[in-house]
């Protein structure tokens, strides 16, 4: 029987999505529903002298108005849940509504609950706030200097933590190295922009004491826990439902004040309350990504051997520490400084810095894109300095295939890899030598062609729970599945993760159907409801297939083992004498003696004739905790032509060779690569959240923030190599973030390569025509 594993079957999610029959959080409508709106600070940094809600309370349709003072003793602060150790982390309280001070434009000040959305919004205009403005500071490096405006009383110089990573002896390496270079690299702040804005709809039933909260969530069990902390309701009286979720990219991981506010209001008023942000509110309130100022040094030999890397990074955290924020620029960033290379000496220091801006947390790639970018950028600069081909420098430093598992200087161990294989394949696809020849010819004609090559690996499939605990993550990182077989032989799998576009309702059904020899239509996958699904940790960090998919596999194997016991009993045979063939257990040598999976499902569920000591029913639960992270890798290559007159970048070809181990559904894998690469190209070419010096977000709507459009983006050519991971039973690695991680340096390196004849060495992202043009003029010694 052909396996479904490896088959690019169509997604079962799609019929409801293409017909408008899916239910997203804002689609939830309940009897007696009230609507909430939240008054947001218009100042980046100010003392709150007075918040007068009297007029708003009198407005037509308004049911209740709450201020920070009203809620101070009723709702707990928004917790930070990644307590990174050994870095003197300081997490000041983040009240659900500001009490005496606001710390970013968008900080919540008052909650209005009304009979309609419009009435709630209208009432916001009737609230009078008396601010005493304070100085803002938006740049993390500047915020960490003496004399900068102070956000929190107990955080001197706004430095939330100072985290270090060391391996080998970087200072010695730099002292001895014949070649040294340094570069200041900016990782601009980005707006995740999941197309569905966030929403929460809370319904408290005073009769049962149960709160049900629909949340746009990537991780409903984490949200249940965080909601319990904030609302003070015990966890077993909270049900979180993440229905259809319209993208997340990290922005729907954190716990926010908003879901606690509607939950409190529902508790207080005894009616359901819904809040939905619009895009402008989303840009002010929902977490941002990146925001690093990096000082990077690299040293090596004259013939291309990298001997050391040093960094000093200022990572902006925004006004408060969001749920996972401290772990992103540290554990998920600094530990990946070696990339796919054997770099013996590494020393990095990361300062987490509060600024008067929207909180920063995990955004697609979360720490690894920043690490990959700085490393890949430095390697190209190094190659240019020593006059060596950048591909040859990479090849010289890649971890050899026969060295896995390989422990890098930062202390983590990569599971498996074939970095040269992916590099060779990508070079072959682009015909590297031919392109270099074309480039040389074009240069003679005054045209600027360039090529960028990125060899990357990344850490994902988060991860062993023991490691999570050791690095201060406030939860486990296993995941879970219940595989339940119905009397008629059809199956439901209830999973702890929460896909929101990645297609695991399909791929996990493929895993289960293969195990039982069933048509894939006979398997349903259920996610997102804490009432139905076992404790899990959600969908992020490219972990769902590697960790939760493995739980599905193990649970299905357990079910099958029980079915085999029952089959042996019914066939009066030893289990050892049974073969599994075409969806049946068959007695060896007696092909007519068999029990199909469907027959066994019925017999297990009616339990008329069970083996002695075996319980009725046919279902199993598995909690899968991997022994290590997984480390997908690959090579991306981009060729560009730059118009030196206008600074415009035209992408000629984009090639992505990725290795995520065996692919359950190649169609879905390719879709992940496409989306990831384009998101990275957006970062490289056009996206940047801009604050003015007063802390006003100038890119506050989709008119100003440049999410890539279809007409701006190229076609991606994809290919793969297959190197299984030894750390899970499927051999799979994550592929949700690789595109974003690899594509940013690939594009920037291609542009810098194109402009090498003009003396351009580095351009800060995003590479808008204006920035590229300016870099050209600066290199020529012309305009500023």
């Amino acid at each position: 029987m052909a396996t479904l594993f490896g088959s690019g079957i169509k997604r079962r999610e799609d019929p409801r999505l293409v017909t408008g029959r899916a239910t997203y959080t804002d689609d939830v409508k309940l009897p007696g529903l009230l609507y909430a709106a939240i008054l947001r600070s218009t100042y980046a940094h100010a003392k709150l002298k007075q918040v007068d809600v009297a007029k708003a309370k009198q407005a037509a349709g308004v049911v209740a108005v709450y201020t920070g003072a009203d809620l101070r003793d009723k709702v707990n602060a928004v917790p930070c849940a990644w307590n990174v150790p050994n870095c003197d982390l300081k997490v000041p309280p983040h009240p659900v509504l500001a009490v005496d001070k606001v710390r970013y434009v968008g900080d919540g000040i008052a909650l209005v609950v009304a009979e309609s959305r419009a009435a709630a919004r209208d009432a916001l205009d009737l609230i009078e706030v008396d601010y005493d403005p304070l100085d803002a500071v938006v740049d993390p490096e500047r915020a960490a200097q003496k004399g900068a405006p102070q956000l929190h009383a107990d955080v001197p110089n706004n430095v939330a933590f100072t985290w270090k990573v060391t391996g080998g002896d970087a200072d010695k390496a730099f002292a001895e190295a014949p070649v040294k270079l340094e570069q200041r690299i900016l990782q601009p702040r980005l707006l995740p922009t999941a197309m569905e804005p966030r929403a929460a709809c809370a319904s408290y039933n005073p009769g049962t004491g149960q709160l049900t909260c629909w949340i746009t969530s990537q991780n409903p069990h984490i949200h249940r826990f965080l909601l319990s902390v904030m609302t003070k309701l015990p966890e077993h009286r909270i049900r979180v439902i993440a229905p259809e979720v319209g993208g997340g990219f990290g922005s729907k991981i954190p716990g926010y004040a908003d879901e606690a506010l509607v939950s409190f209001a529902s508790l207080d008023l005894g009616r359901p309350v819904k809040w939905t942000e619009d895009r402008s509110e989303n840009y002010k309130v929902t977490i941002h990504g990146r925001d690093h100022v990096e000082h990077v040094e690299l040293c090596g030999t004259k013939d291309g051997k990298i001997t050391g890397l040093r960094t000093r990074v200022y990572a902006g955290l925004g006004g408060y520490a969001s749920t996972a924020a401290p772990g992103i620029p540290t554990i998920l960033h600094g530990l990946m400084y070696s990339g796919p290379y054997a770099i013996p000496n590494i020393a990095g220091t990361v300062y987490g810095v509060y600024t008067t801006t929207t909180p920063v947390d995990a955004y697609r790639g979360a720490g690894r894109p920043e690490a990959t970018f700085l490393l890949e950028r430095m390697i190209d600069l190094y190659a240019r300095k020593i006059g060596m081909d950048p591909v040859e420098v990479r090849r010289k430093n890649l971890i050899p295939n026969d060295k896995f598992p390989y422990t890098v200087a930062t202390g983590i161990t990569y599971d498996s890899g074939n970095y040269q294989g992916a590099l060779d394949k990508a070079l072959q696809m682009i015909d590297y030598k031919k392109f270099r020849a074309e480039q040389a010819k074009a240069r003679k004609d005054g045209r600027y062609l360039g090529i960028g090559v990125t060899t990357y690996c990344e850490i994902c499939g988060l991860g062993p729970s023991q490691v999570a605990g050791a690095v201060g993550f406030g939860g486990g990182l296993y995941d879970s599945a219940i595989v339940r077989v119905y009397p008629t032989g059809v199956v439901r799998a209830y999973i702890g993760a929460k896909p929101h576009g990645q297609g695991e309702e399909t791929t996990f059904a493929q895993i289960v159907a293969d195990e039982f020899g069933l048509p894939v239509e006979n398997v349903e996958v259920v996610a997102g409801d804490t009432e139905a699904t076992p404790q899990g940790w959600g969908t992020y960090g490219s972990r769902t297939t590697a960790v939760c998919g493995s739980a599905v596999k193990v649970a299905a194997q357990r079910v099958k083992a029980k079915a085999k016991q029952i089959a042996a009993h019914l066939l009066e045979a030893n289990e050892a004498d049974l073969d599994w063939k075409d969806g049946k257990f068959v007695v060896k040598g007696s092909p007519d003696k068999s029990k199909s999976f469907g027959e066994l499902a019925l017999m297990a569920n009616v339990a008329w004739n069970m083996p002695p000591g075996v319980e009725p029913g046919l279902e199993a639960t598995a909690f899968f905790d991997p022994t290590n992270f997984v480390f997908p890798f690959g090579t991306h290559i981009c060729t560009v032509e730059v118009d030196a007159e206008t600074g415009e970048v035209k992408i000629l070809r984009y090639i992505a060779v990725d290795d995520c181990g065996p692919q359950i559904n190649p169609m879905i894998v390719e879709g992940q690569v496409h989306g990831g690469v384009i998101q990275g190209l957006g970062e490289a070419l056009q996206e940047r959240a801009v604050y003015d010096e007063d802390g006003q977000l100038l890119t506050g709507t989709l008119m100003d923030y440049a999410v890539p459009k279809a007409s701006q983006m190229p076609k991606i050519e994809t290919a793969h190599t297959v190197t299984p991971s030894p750390v899970n039973p499927l051999g799979v690695k994550g592929v949700g973030e690789t595109g974003t991680i690899a594509s940013v340096p690939t594009l920037v390196n291609a542009v810098c390569d194109a402009l090498a004849p003009l003396g351009v060495t580095h351009i800060d992202k995003p590479l808008t025509p204006a920035r590229v043009w300016t870099a050209i003029q600066q290199a020529k010694g012309g305009a500023r």
Partner: protein
């Protein structure tokens, strides 16, 4: 001051009370329970709320509900009938032209308009026609492929 309006939506006549300032997108969603029309921005950039007005794609967040009286409105829920998918819905499914699905209704309805105006669009024409529809998941490549495929099926 609310007023009563009668809308022709997906072939049915629907009467509802609206404020004159109410946007068609909000009325479709909140009052007529047609939640397949999504709202992804507040500045008419994202296109998630696209519907057909007399067969042409419009962003229903830029239309007042009162302006839609007397016009035929088609939302994603009304695009297909008899349990069969419209060729564009089918093509988005087959070509993996969606991931989270939030932008999809608007993408499909924009494409319906495009193909009614230009049955044989080039890739560049398709990408240009999607200028007003944002997708954050797919990178657009499979959306383009889906529209090309549907164009073939519709010919």
């Amino acid at each position: 001051m609310k007023r009563s309006i009668t809308l022709d939506v997906n072939g049915a006549t629907r009467t509802t009370e609206v404020e004159p300032r109410a946007l068609l997108a909000s009325v479709l969603r909140d009052q007529l329970d047609l939640t397949g029309t999504h709202i992804g921005c507040d500045t008419s950039q994202c296109g998630a709320c696209t519907v057909l007005l007399d067969g042409r794609a419009v962003k229903s967040c830029t239309v007042l509900a009162v302006q839609a009286e007397g016009k035929q409105i088609t939302t994603i829920e009304g695009l297909s009938g008899d349990g069969r998918l419209h060729p564009l819905q089918q093509a988005f499914w087959e070509k993996h032209g969606l991931q989270c699905g939030f932008c999809t209704p608007g993408m499909i309805l924009t494409a319906v308009d495009l193909l009614s105006q230009n049955p044989t669009p080039s890739e560049a024409e398709i990408r240009h026609a999607l200028e007003g529809n944002l997708c954050r998941c797919t990178g657009y490549q499979n959306i383009v492929a889906a529209i090309q495929s549907a164009a073939g099926a519709l010919r």
